[in-house]
């Protein structure tokens, strides 16, 4: 080191003695503010270990002087949020479903609340816009298995369908083929008859009279004499243009052979009553309500 006391002419600094192709390195110490900041961060880190949870232990972690926990802080924030919303949500809770739809301010509030809850809970099956999918009803149209009035929608959201809840909607499409009630060719005939109910084309050699007879014997108890369905039983209207599981012959044969029993969970214990109410209003306002 003692050899390296060469002084650079321009800067007046000593060099380190390192020399690469004639380029010499100046001995420039770190700026004092930088060094001090560095030491300060070390002191800060030590303080941090003591004050906040920092060190993982074998069966836990150091909790720190403040007993700080992100989970507790989230819980506090959520409680604050509920408190903030409390007053408005209470108004929503006290108003009847019909009143909410009539009051633009309440409607906007319920729709806003309903929209976020829908996205969190309903969108996985019904789609983000409630458009549904095969087997999952479209909530934007006017065809409702269990009824599309505000009260009926609320009922369905609360208790679901075939959810196991005591008040849930029950109703089974029987497995006519699997259970041996109808033979294969009979099922095809009924399927074609059902298609004809909503004005769809039928197979060329289809016997309409036989279809009608089979339908009257097996289907009218649930779907009604003219196939208009029954919301009490969740029996779909077979004369309209909306088909939850598809309307082609194959899909209908499958439905009649094995039956259908889609499940909608009950939300009554998972969502608070005001939220369910907001959700009902939101779903109704998608346009599908009756």
């Amino acid at each position: 080191m003692s050899e390296h006391n060469e002084i650079d002419r321009v800067s007046g600094r000593s060099t380190t003695g390192h020399d690469w192709d004639g380029i010499k390195e100046l001995n420039t110490p770190l700026p004092r503010w930088w060094v001090l900041t560095f030491y300060a961060t070390i002191v800060w880190a030590i303080g941090y270990w003591v004050v906040y949870p920092a060190w993982p232990l074998v069966s836990g972690y150091t909790t720190g002087l403040f007993q700080y926990s992100t989970r507790a802080s989230v819980a506090t924030d959520l409680a604050d949020l509920e408190k903030l919303r409390g007053e408005k949500m209470a108004v929503l809770g006290n108003a009847s479903l019909a009143d909410i739809e009539k009051d633009p301010a309440l409607l906007a509030l319920a729709r806003a609340r309903g929209k976020t809850v829908f996205a969190d809970n309903c969108a996985p099956c019904h789609g983000s816009g409630g458009a549904g999918a095969k087997g999952y009803p479209n909530l934007n149209d006017d065809d409702w298995l269990w009824g599309g009035s505000l009260d009926q929608i609320m009922q369905t959201i609360q208790f679901g369908a075939r959810s196991g809840h005591a008040k849930t909607h029950e109703g089974q499409m029987l497995a006519f083929g699997r259970d041996g009630v109808l033979k294969k060719d009979e099922i095809v005939t009924v399927a074609n008859y059902v298609r004809s109910l909503s004005g769809l084309s039928t197979a060329p050699k289809f016997d309409a009279a036989a279809g009608k007879k089979l339908f009257t014997e097996n289907c009218t108890s649930c779907h009604g004499d003219n196939g208009k369905g029954n919301p009490e039983l969740g029996a779909p209207n077979l004369t309209d243009q909306i088909w939850l599981y598809g309307s082609d012959e194959g899909a209908l044969v499958e439905t009649i052979t094995n039956g259908r029993a889609g499940v909608m969970p009950a939300w009554v214990g998972r969502l608070d009553p005001v939220t369910v109410k907001a959700l009902a209003v939101y779903v109704h306002s998608l346009g599908g309500g009756k």
Binding site: I7, R9, V10, S11, G12, R13, P29, P31, R32, E101, K102, P104, L107, A108, R111, G127, S128, G129, G130, A131, N138, N140, D141, D142, D143, N237, D240, Q241, I242, S285, L286, G287
Partner: protein, 485 residues
């Protein structure tokens, strides 16, 4: 540690230090034409800045009565008779364009007028200099004090100066926040510590920045930080008036006595007596006699200083003045001085300013007070109903910019046999739903348009929502598409 100085024996004439520390500028007080213009402009600028929030402007019940107010919580901007909504932010773009062209025009006519007279940095630094001179004395007194030891008297004066600076800085920050809330109420809240924390934060930040920039950084803002001198240098031309030392008249510099001797021999002596007054008064510490330079903010104080000296030594004033190089050349060649304020560049700038002004004025005068926007449902984009009809959902957003509630009717044009249904509307006229728009708000509605299914119909047809104010007859419309599944 951080200020290495090369040993003297290692320095040669060519080697300067790579970094020159700042030399403190002690501008001397001066009086004269440009100084008084500067005082007056400072009074106007600061007066407007400090007092504008207290100007009232009656807008009717429920609306704020502050003439200039940026109301962030309610998303409104009030400027006297103008009330702007967030979606009209393009007016600010217009204002910025206008400001840029005004700057260009000023520059083409008289150089850095902005820098010398109107720039906040100049105005506040000038104010801080005035305070400094008042408390610590003029240039000589300050330089002498700084060179000497710290005395009780000097420390006291310094403390007083900083106290006054901080008060000015504090009130500067305080005035800023008044533009964002009702000024008298906010002043009361601030005094009683009831104001929102953000107000105190902003006051603290702007107090600090004013104090630091006007008290300490000063001319270094113009020389090192500000981009305008660089841009300005690219925009200026040979006709722009700049503060200029008329070297054709001033050189060679010589004392009064020497000049008398030279002239008595019938030879030419310069008018400049090298008294350095122009340097002493300069707030950026430059020597104007070195020619046009980046550090010059063209405030004209050197003109005042030089004119005073020229008058004293019985020579013609105006050795330094607003002039340009063309005139220097013309005088050398024995021609008449000419000034050309009207030329292609200035005409273009002035016309652009006029055009932007006209467009903005037209836009402002013809802005609608009833508006509607439409957003088509994306998911699902179309719905098939049980009877085969097709329905599209839309979200309509209405803007009622008037200060009173109004009843509007909604009509739909476009798809054949289209039926309109407004969610939540209990209208007695089902074919023409009506709703009430609350004053000065936006209202969002979900509407459904249904048409019978027609195989031959086009996949997508335009649909127009027309909104009519039942009382005033004002109409607004928005167009989107009706789509088949």
């Amino acid at each position: 540690m951080n200020k290495p100085v090369p040993p003297a024996e290692l320095m040669t004439d060519e080697d300067g230090p790579l970094y020159a520390p700042r030399k403190k500028v002690y501008p001397q007080s001066v009086s004269g034409r440009f100084r008084s213009i500067k005082w007056r402009l400072m009074a106007v600028c600061l007066g407007v800045y400090y007092l504008l929030p207290f100007v009232r402007w009656h807008r009717g019940l429920g609306a704020p009565d502050q003439a200039v107010l940026i109301d962030f919580p309610n998303r409104r901007f009030y400027f006297f008779f103008i009330e702007l909504w967030p979606q009209e932010i393009y007016y600010f773009t217009g204002l910025l364009v206008l400001a840029a062209f005004a700057l260009f025009l000023m520059n083409a006519l008289g150089g850095r007028i902005w820098c010398g007279y109107l720039c906040p940095q100049t105005v506040w630094t000038d104010l801080f200099y005035a305070v400094e001179r008042l408390v610590e004395g003029d240039r000589r007194a300050q330089m002498k004090a700084d060179a000497g030891p710290m005395t009780v008297n000097r420390a006291g004066r310094r403390a007083l100066k900083h106290a006054i600076w901080l008060m000015i800085a504090w009130w500067t920050g305080g005035a800023w926040v008044l533009y964002f809330a009702d000024a008298p109420t906010l002043v009361r809240d601030l005094a009683t510590f009831q104001a929102p924390a953000i107000a105190y934060v902003w006051i603290a930040m702007l107090t600090a920045s004013t104090y630091l920039l006007a008290g300490y950084v000063r001319e270094q803002v113009c020389v090192y930080m500000c981009p305008w001198p660089r841009i300005q240098a690219a925009l200026t031309d040979e006709w722009a008036l700049n503060v200029t030392y008329k070297y054709d008249r001033g050189e060679p510099r010589c004392s009064v006595k020497k000049a008398f001797d030279i002239r008595s021999l019938g030879e030419k002596a310069g008018d400049c007596i090298d008294c350095n007054q122009c340097v002493a008064v300069c707030p950026t510490g430059i020597d104007i006699r070195d020619g046009a330079q980046l550090g010059c903010i063209q405030c004209g104080l050197c003109i005042d200083a030089c004119d005073a000296v020229m008058t004293k030594v019985s020579r013609k004033a105006g050795l330094i003045g607003y002039d340009n190089d063309i005139n220097v050349q013309r005088r050398v060649a024995g021609k008449q001085e000419i000034f050309k304020p009207v030329r292609a560049r200035t005409v273009v700038y002035a016309s652009l300013i006029t055009v932007v002004c006209a467009v903005m004025l037209y836009a402002l005068m013809s802005r609608t007070l009833l508006d509607v926007n439409v957003l088509h449902d994306r998911n699902p984009i179309a719905v098939r109903l049980s009877d085969g009809a097709i329905r599209n959902g839309y979200t309509l957003r209405f803007l009622n910019k008037r200060g009173f509630d109004r009843v509007i009717a909604i009509d739909v044009d476009g798809p054949a046999e289209a039926k309109l249904h407004v969610i939540g509307s209990d209208s007695v006229t089902p074919d023409r739903p009506m709703i009430v728009l609350a004053r000065d708000t936006t209202t969002e509605l979900r509407v459904l348009v249904t048409t019978p299914f027609d195989e031959k119909a086009e996949k997508s047809v335009p649909v127009t929502f027309r909104v009519t104010d039942i009382g005033l007859g004002e109409v607004a419309s928005a167009t989107d598409h009706f789509v088949l599944p």
